[in-house]
């Protein structure tokens, strides 16, 4: 048995360190590592995005991410999973979420990685705001569009 991975924060305000996440789960008994990065896209439904901003209910999001990972590790034989989600401002091209699934073989690595990102998008209490040149909107909540809202200076 390999020791439990060192605890990494589920939520982070800075850039995601993929190498650190990978090191937290990969061992010499894992022949397969499947990684998913969600990155900030410039175009959303034809509109140009300047920046994404993420907000969470942090205590609940941490519990939910831990539950999703535990579920995947139980369901997919030998899989170990690391996850990190970014909060606050996420510049274009940078990762807002990373999932790393290590497993003895590739089928389980792909399945665990896919399960975790799907579950995060479905269940984790995290919200994405798209910042446009002339306003901002919470994704999935189009009535939230605020014309004139501009991204404030980075914190």
């Amino acid at each position: 048995m390999t020791p439990a991975p060192p605890h990494l924060p589920w939520l982070t305000r800075g850039a995601i360190d993929l190498a650190r996440l990978t090191a937290a789960v990969a061992t010499v008994e894992h022949g397969a590592i499947c990684t998913f990065l969600g990155t900030a896209r410039r175009t959303s439904e034809g509109r140009e995005v300047n920046l994404l901003r993420y907000e969470a209910y942090p205590e609940m999001a941490e519990k939910e991410l831990a539950a999703i990972v535990a579920e995947a590790e139980q369901r997919f034989a030998g899989a170990r999973v690391a996850v990190q989600h970014r909060l606050g401002d996420c510049p274009l091209g940078e990762a807002s979420v990373a999932v790393v699934a290590a497993a003895p073989h590739r089928v389980a690595a792909f399945a665990a990685c896919r399960h975790v990102i799907d579950a995060i998008k479905e269940r984790a209490p995290i919200w994405k705001q798209e910042q446009f040149r002339d306003g901002a909107a919470w994704v999935g909540d189009p009535a939230s569009y605020e014309p004139g809202a501009r991204p404030p200076a980075a914190d």
Partner: protein, 84 residues
Amino acid sequence: MAATTHSHRILLFAGVAQRAGAREWRVDVAAGSTVAELREELARRHPWLRELPVAFAVNQALAAPTTRLAAGDELALLPPVSGG
């Protein structure tokens, strides 16, 4: 005997916080009230809530409409999630 009430903080997020212009609300609810009753009470005060498919969390877990609220419960209003 007068009905007991509890005072609750309700955490607000994303588009809900934006519309509310606040990060939390305080409400008093009668002891033994359900999540559905709380939702109705909030919607009476903030009619725009009816347009949004919000969910409720009680103590950091999704709650069913039939869940009964107890003193000290941490409540939150969750608009549709969009992480990832």
